[in-house]
């Protein structure tokens, strides 16, 4: 039996993309898989009694070394802010290519804490900063210094000691360009170095909290229980900076989604599934309920989604326990069809993620397809005709072409770059200034404009001639030819409409990162947790593949 790949016109809608969950394809999981055989080491740890100073951690294999250089700083409580406009953080980090020399550390000490206004070199690969969850950090220090383990209820509610507020890579602020390192096999997957940075930062937070507690009460202090450490991750506050990325990297987005869709298709096409794999799938779904029930949010929007998800996952469990026969043919296809009929987008995508768990042979080979070189597809095939381009738009953007952009609600918002932090922002064009400096992220509107021009142009005319009169549409002409080849490269929604929820775009990307517990703080930013439940560095070599659900 052959199952069709799912229709991009359904899957690439924002509400669906905003329902994606982490899976075996997620980058933090593939990072851990890749680096599990590397030697981890804490190379230096020079913190004072308050926990301020410098530390270096590394992963090493043969001659290759990646080092996290950490700078922990004392900041005033009033200066602590997760917003991108902040200028001071509890700690700042960079991932250095190789082992840093004393001169490197000296140089980095001057630059890394300044973040966006510092200058890094091609020897640095990623850059980040993080703030303490003061409430949790202080409580843990207090407990440990008195010889006690911290309150697990509090830890469960928050899930981390620190949260990062940005992780930069790929040439930002002087960091190494991607092309310098792209041929290294171990970092072939997307965002692998960013994942490495966050993972090592997590270990730094445990070492720092133990160190501060010990300094506070050397005789009585105990270390944070390793099981508790394992259940803590790294928080992250994410704003709109992330959203344009998925619009600006169309073939990369396609490769991520296609990998997920291919995995689902192949799993649905399995005629007979052995009992071991069925049991593993059921175990993951059952154990994942723990994640759902400890998923806290003050967002009414997200709380509703979680409630509905919990109800539907429980229904699904009853279904597979009581009414479903895993020995029947094509069991996962039957499950998928049941989900589509009986549940919601959030539940469908949640279970789809979990379907991948037993099938390493299907999923792991797909991981290496998840990078892309956008440059290869940059040239517009100007020898093609107006008719061909018009046909592409009609075939690939059916719903977008139906949008009426005369209606103000459909072009209410605009994307721009803020002057003070050079970060993407989103605003109401009828209330805020600056829409004349709009970024080229209103793809739906511009595709519609292009279509309107194409239908009055001579069909046999070639694109080079069409461009002579329509240069302002060049960016979407390029996109349309990309989308022709890469069906999942475009969000099939209007990203400037009144009804758009920008965090759907963030959540799509974060689900591929492997984030858990999306906690929207508005429609424009959210908090998440990464590496919660992940093996600690000394456990990497023998960790369970399903650590997320343990």
């Amino acid at each position: 039996m052959e199952v069709e790949l799912r229709d991009p016109n359904i899957i690439m809608k924002l509400s669906r993309l905003g329902s994606f969950h982490q899976s075996k394809l997620s980058f933090l999981r593939s990072f851990l898989d890749e680096f599990k055989d590397w030697d981890y080491n804490r190379d230096s740890f020079n913190l004072d009694n308050g926990g301020y100073g410098t530390a270096v951690y590394s992963f090493k294999k043969k001659e290759k070394i990646y080092s996290l250089v950490c700078f922990a700083n004392k900041i005033d409580n009033n200066d602590r802010s997760d917003r991108v406009i902040a200028t001071k953080w509890d700690a700042a980090f960079t991932l250095h290519d190789g082992a840093p020399t004393e001169n490197d550390i000296k140089r980095l000490k001057n630059e890394v804490p300044k973040q966006e206004v510092g200058r890094l070199s091609y020897k640095e690969l990623t850059l980040s900063r993080a703030n303490k969850s003061v409430r949790v950090f202080d409580h843990v220090v207090e407990s440990l210094s008195n010889g006690n383990q911290p309150d697990l209820n509090l830890l469960e509610k928050v899930g981390y000691l620190y949260r990062t507020t940005a992780v930069y890579g790929s040439g930002k602020f002087g960091l190494a360009d991607r092309f310098r390192i792209k041929n290294r096999q171990e970092i072939n997957g997307p965002f692998r170095l960013e994942m490495m940075l966050v993972y090592l930062v997590r270990q730094f937070t445990f070492d720092q909290v133990n160190h501060v507690a010990k300094c506070k009460n050397p005789k009585k202090a105990v270390s944070l229980d390793l099981k508790i450490c394992k259940n803590l991750g790294i928080g992250n506050s994410t704003g709109l900076g992330m959203a344009p990325f998925i619009v600006n990297h169309p073939t990369l987005l396609h490769n991520w989604i296609l990998s997920r869709e291919t995995a689902l298709k192949k799993i649905r096409e399995i005629k007979k599934v052995n009992s071991k794999n069925c049991d593993l799938f059921k175990k993951c779904v059952k154990e994942s309920l723990k994640i759902l029930t400890s998923w806290n949010t003050e967002s009414e929007f997200q709380a509703k989604k979680i409630n509905s998800l919990v109800i539907n996952v429980k229904r699904f469990l009853r279904f597979i326990d009581n009414d479903f026969d895993f020995t029947s043919e094509y069991p996962f296809n039957q499950i998928y069809l049941w989900l589509e009929k009986q549940t919601c987008e959030e539940t469908i995508e949640y279970i789809v993620s979990m379907m991948m768990e037993p099938f390493d042979d299907i999923v792991k080979p797909l991981r290496k397809n998840m990078s892309s070189d956008e440059e290869k597809y940059f040239r517009i095939p100007t020898e093609r005709t107006v008719l061909e381009l018009k046909n592409i738009l009609e075939l690939k953007y059916p719903d977008i072409l139906k949008i009426n952009f005369e209606n103000k609600e459909n072009f209410k918002n605009f994307w721009f770059i803020s002057k003070n932090k050079e970060e993407p922002r989103y605003a109401d064009r009828f209330e805020e200034n600056g829409s004349e400096l709009e970024q080229p992220l209103a793809i739906a509107r511009d595709i519609k404009r292009l279509y309107d021009r194409l239908i009055i142009a001579k069909e046999s005319s070639t694109i080079d001639k069409f461009l002579l009169e329509n240069s302002e549409l060049r960016h979407v002409i390029r996109r349309a030819f990309i989308i022709e080849k890469f069906q999942y490269a475009e969000i099939q929604d209007n990203t400037i409409s009144k009804n758009v929820i920008p965090i759907d775009m963030l959540r799509l990307k974060l689900s591929f990162f492997g984030a858990l517990k999306f906690d929207p703080r508005s429609d424009k930013w959210l908090r998440i947790c990464m590496f919660q439940g992940a093996p600690l560095p000394h456990e990497l070599k023998n960790c369970s593949q399903q650590w997320v659900y343990n």
Binding site: V117, Y122, R178, P440
Partner: protein, 220 residues
């Protein structure tokens, strides 16, 4: 010497380290948009300046000078490119010329040799020729005054102008498409081939009988 640059939020940056190509591309793209080009053309400019800087040409310097001059001076945008191209009143804008050249490359290639008068900031035209060379799979030779550039399938650009300032106008420029012919004499090839044959082993009759296709007639 370390330059100190004051950025918009009042911080001072010590310019000790090189800009990444990613920063060069992004800043060039945004500056192009601010100078009046469409986003699609600005994307092309970002990639062009990245290429020039990667090949050690003064892309940032030329783009900056061109945009400053563009504030007070008009430049012409060509339409269809022919065998001989002369602007009507002002110099050609190297960006519009470059974009159009790249877009029309399959037609222009048929002309073999194309002449241009008055291209402003000709260095900015080079990346489009380089990309065109890749598209058609042929080397492109670009020359004006005593300056020469060989675009090699977008893999590199050979020039007698490396590490020197490029003039800000090419009065009479010529673009030549180089057919894919050998760049060496037949005698040199034969000589080298004979040497390479010394790595071969003579086959015995019995080995020949067991080789692929042996024992069958080619007409069966």
């Amino acid at each position: 010497m370390n330059l100190k640059i004051v950025v918009s939020n009042g911080f001072i940056i010590d310019r000790k380290f090189m800009r990444s190509l990613s920063e060069i591309e992004t800043t060039s793209k945004r500056a192009s948009k601010a100078s009046g080009f469409s986003w699609g053309v600005s994307e092309e400019v970002g990639k062009s300046i990245r290429l020039l800087e990667m090949f050690n040409f003064q892309g940032i310097k030329n783009l900056n000078e061109y945009f400053r001059e563009k504030l007070n001076k008009k430049f012409e945008r060509p339409n269809l490119i022919n065998k001989s191209n002369t602007p009507k009143e002002f110099s050609y804008c190297p960006i519009s010329l470059g974009v159009n050249f790249l877009d029309q490359i399959y037609n222009i290639e048929k002309i073999k040799i194309v002449n241009f008068s008055n291209i402003a900031y000709p260095l900015l035209f080079l990346p489009f020729l380089s990309k065109s060379s890749e598209v058609i799979g042929k080397k492109i030779h670009f020359k004006f005054d005593n300056h020469e550039f060989l675009m090699n399938i977008n893999v590199n650009i050979a020039s007698n102008l490396l590490n020197k300032s490029c003039p800000n106008i090419a009065k009479n420029a010529e673009v030549i498409f180089i057919e894919n012919n050998d760049n060496f004499h037949e005698q040199d090839w034969k000589s080298l081939y004979q040497l390479s044959e010394q790595t071969f082993v003579e086959e015995t009759e019995s080995l020949k009988k067991g080789a692929a296709g042996a024992g069958l007639t080619d007409n069966d």
